[in-house]
């Protein structure tokens, strides 16, 4: 278990949590745990209850979706600084993809129920954290749209 100060430093090194007010960061550090996973380790499965919100510190997490008869597709990798399982904050709190660590993972995690309770009780914390979650989710939504355009496809859907 890392001490508070070093957890705050680690949080500050991520784009997701950097630059938050010191009080908020200390509160987040209190709620957080460090987590590690081996390459190849499955972190959660699509449809599972989202138990934690995680921030990747080191390593790479592949988010995969299974298509029956066609296998697993990696649709996104979560890289250092970014979050996984944001669904731990949004009902129905279920994972929307399966996650596998594809490089040795170091992460910081927040228990879903505890984090939600803290956000309900602590307006300042909620005010600081929700915009960050929104940025992370919006960034992902934007990426998904660009991927949907399939810009590098051989056959371009021409609009003219």
């Amino acid at each position: 278990m890392q001490d508070q100060a070093s957890l705050v430093a680690v949080l500050n090194s991520t784009w997701f949590a950097s630059g938050l007010e010191p009080g908020i960061q200390t509160r987040l550090a209190e709620l957080s745990r460090t987590f590690t996973a081996e390459p190849g380790q499955e972190l959660f499965r699509e449809g599972d209850e989202s138990e934690v919100l995680g921030i990747v510190i080191k390593g790479r997490v592949a988010l995969r979706i299974h298509v029956p008869e066609r296998g697993d597709f990696t649709i996104l990798t979560v890289e250092p600084g970014d979050v996984y399982l944001w669904s731990a904050l949004v009902p129905p709190y279920r994972a929307t993809s399966t996650a596998v660590a594809i490089e040795a993972l170091e992460a910081i995690t927040f228990e879903g129920p505890a984090l939600r309770a803290a956000l309900r009780e602590d307006a300042a914390l909620a005010q600081a954290l929700y915009p960050r979650v929104l940025v992370a989710v919006a960034r992902r939504l934007n990426a998904t749209r660009v991927q949907l355009l399939d810009l590098f496809a051989a056959e371009q859907v021409r609009t003219w």
Binding site: A62, R64, I75, T77, V146, D150, F152, A153
Partner: protein, 664 residues
């Protein structure tokens, strides 16, 4: 660095800061200490008109007051007129004589009736101390370590011999006209690979240690702390050696430059002088090729297999039943040079040359490897002022032809064609320029030049429709029609001295590939170079081998991402802008080159602007319908520009709000 010099065995002294100073008169103490430790000393001594390495026991055997003069094919000793013990450069002996002897027994075998048996020879080498190894020679030991014990299979004989060696390095305070360690990045400064290091001054030596074993010896030497003036003097002397040697062979990109010149006429010219004697390989401190010889006794029952140095210059080296693969001297010279400077990198991740210059001095006909390299694979000039060359077949009714000499399938739908027999104008084209490429019956199409060769070009074409598919289907020997080179170029001159970020997707890497070649050929002129490359799937990445080399060897920070992947891909999945949208960069000294689908270029320039790269330093290349390629047919107009003539490369500032605007 703090060197505690506590002298338990020879009376206690205070701990001293920095390197220690050893009086010349006390050097024998080092000899004696090493011999006390059971080591046989190998060091420089004068014999047969040269300074060679041999067994020595006393300082008196060192080449006191001797220097040497070296030039291609020439070596002479000369009196220095001082008392220096290490005032020479390197002689004909290489340390491999002890770590990788010229002849060793490998296996004893016997034949007894129907029975055969094989007994491996076990080396029991003496403990040695090498005295006087120069920076280039330390690098050479490192290269042989890599070759002989650095990969999966190890040479057991080398391993035991090497482990038994204590290395006393001597920093160079003089140089020969044949030296080029500076170009090979191995010297003259001694930085690692030694136990003890000495640098000679007028009255003695600055002594430093590089390993715990070296420190243990150092602590037993009669040292006093070196003065600031002595330390400064050493630094200034070694810096002067570096300056005197200069940079005789620009080696940035030498691997690719050399391998692109396998058919250069110079190979035949140098072979007219080369007598394939193999002196260069014998004198070379890294050459490791060997051959096996079987010797039997008179009964024929007992045999010894011995290993001896061989040379790729010897006529039988590449012999098979029916002939030799490298029958001609030019083949052997090419094999040697391309191995040393290019394919060694592919095999061992290092250069095979350390720049000691022995192959130049000891070549009986004075062939200078530096001249050959500069003639065969000159660095690609990158002159900012250079004007674009006049295109050939400029008007749309004429074409020159070129012949396909190689085809490479990059992906399922993309092929790289190597063309030769093209007009020299094409080879003198500039990064980012394109050619109008024609096949009878198809409309001529604009295709970027993806590589400039001395006698040709490469085109990388994606079969997007009938014409490009016909081009992708071309075979070796087929011809195509060309006009060009057309259009403007990437402003590489503006990138000199700056950090460069290249963002590209899909086939968009093709027009940027010559930029990467130019950077690799002259890497030092640029700051950090980052390449962000996105593709649809892992199978759609083009130039995979090069991507790996650029990243691993050429000092380019390569990041790849794909839009989707199967579970076997362990790289990134996501959009290319997410490779850097959260990066903690300072964009103020950065210039960006971007090529990909227009939508991707827009997103990229927005993201780059957010990282502090100004619009005048973000350059994109545009694709438009082109027919004439010279501003006469009107097809490629975009606002006030004709993309073919004024572009295809534009800065975002130039394009203003026409960039990304629909229907312009």
């Amino acid at each position: 660095m703090v060197i505690p010099v506590s002298r338990s065995s020879r009376g206690s002294r205070p701990t001293i800061e920095g390197p220690g100073f050893l009086a010349r008169a006390d050097l024998q103490v080092l000899f004696d200490l090493l011999r006390e430790d059971g080591r046989q000393l190998i060091g420089p001594t004068v014999a047969d008109g040269a300074i060679i390495y041999d067994d020595i026991t006393s300082v008196d055997q060192l080449p006191r007051g001797w220097g040497d003069e070296q030039s291609p094919g020439r070596y002479r000793l000369r009196r220095r007129g001082d008392e220096r013990l290490f005032g020479y450069v390197v002689g004909p002996t290489a340390w491999k004589k002890w770590t990788f002897p010229a002849l060793i027994p490998l296996t004893h075998s016997t034949h007894d009736g129907h029975k055969v048996s094989f007994e491996p020879e076990q080396a029991t080498p003496p403990k040695l101390a090498f005295l006087g190894a120069r920076a280039c020679e330390l690098a050479a030991l490192g290269v042989q370590d890599r070759v002989l014990i650095g990969t999966e299979f190890i040479d057991p004989d080398y391993m035991v011999r090497r482990a038994n060696v204590f290395v006393v390095a001597v920093q160079c305070t003089t140089s020969a006209s044949t030296c080029f360690c500076t170009s090979m990045g191995t010297g003259p400064e001694v930085t690692d690979g030694f136990d003890l290091s000495l640098t000679e001054l007028d009255a003695g030596f600055l002594v430093d240690s590089g390993t715990p074993a070296g420190r243990a010896v150092l602590e037993r030497l009669p040292l006093r702390p070196a003065s600031a003036a002595e330390q400064y003097g050493v630094a200034a002397t070694v810096a002067a050696v570096r300056a005197r040697i200069g940079d005789p062979v620009p080696t940035d990109g030498i691997h690719d430059r050399l391998l692109a010149q396998l058919d250069h006429p110079r190979w035949a010219q140098v072979a007219e002088r080369c007598i394939t004697c193999g002196n260069c390989t014998l004198a070379c401190p890294t050459c490791f090729c060997t051959t096996l010889t079987q010797t039997t006794d008179l009964t024929g029952k007992n045999a010894v297999a011995s290993r001896s140095w061989d040379s790729c210059f010897s006529p039988g080296f590449a012999k098979v039943a029916g002939g030799s693969f490298r029958a001609r001297p030019r083949d052997r010279y090419r094999q040697w040079l391309t191995h040393k400077f290019a394919t060694w990198w592919d095999q061992f991740g290092t250069s095979g040359c350390v720049g000691c210059g022995r192959c130049i001095t000891w070549c009986p006909v004075g062939i200078d490897v530096r001249d050959e390299l500069n003639a065969i694979a000159p660095p690609v000039p990158l002159s900012p002022e250079s004007r674009l060359v006049e295109p050939v077949a400029a008007t749309p009714n004429e074409f020159v032809t070129a012949r396909v000499v190689n085809t490479k399938a990059e992906t399922a739908d993309t092929t790289t064609l190597t063309l030769t027999g093209v007009d020299p104008a094409f080879s003198h084209g500039s990064t980012g320029q394109f050619a109008m490429v024609a096949l009878p019956g198809f409309p001529p199409l604009p295709i970027s030049i993806s590589r400039f060769l001395t006698d040709g070009i490469e085109l990388t074409i994606r079969g997007a429709g009938p014409a490009t598919r016909a081009m992708c289907a071309l075979q070796v020997g087929d011809q195509v029609g060309l006009r060009g080179p057309l259009g403007n170029n990437w402003p590489l001159d503006r990138a000199v001295g700056r950090d460069l970020v290249i963002v590209t997707g899909g086939i968009g890497l093709a027009p940027l590939r010559p930029v990467l070649h130019a950077i690799v050929a002259d890497r030092r002129r640029f700051g950090d170079v980052k390449l962000f490359y996105g593709a649809r799937t892992p199978a759609d990445l083009i130039y995979r081998d090069e991507l790996e080399r650029w990243g691993k060897r050429d000092g380019i920070d390569v990041s790849l991402t794909v839009d989707r992947a199967g579970p076997d891909w362990s790289g990134r999945v996501g959009i290319v802008t997410h490779l850097f949208d959260q990066a903690a960069w300072d964009g103020s000294n950065m210039i960006a080159f971007v090529c990909g689908p227009e939508r991707m270029m827009q997103a990229t320039s927005t993201t780059l602007a957010g990282r502090g790269v100004s619009a005048s330093r973000i350059h994109v290349t545009l694709e438009r319908h082109m027919e004439c390629g010279i501003g006469l047919c009107g097809h490629c107009q975009m606002g006030k520009y004709f993309v073919c003539r004024d572009g295809p490369v534009f800065s975002i500032a130039q394009l203003g709000d026409t960039f990304g605007r629909e229907g312009i």
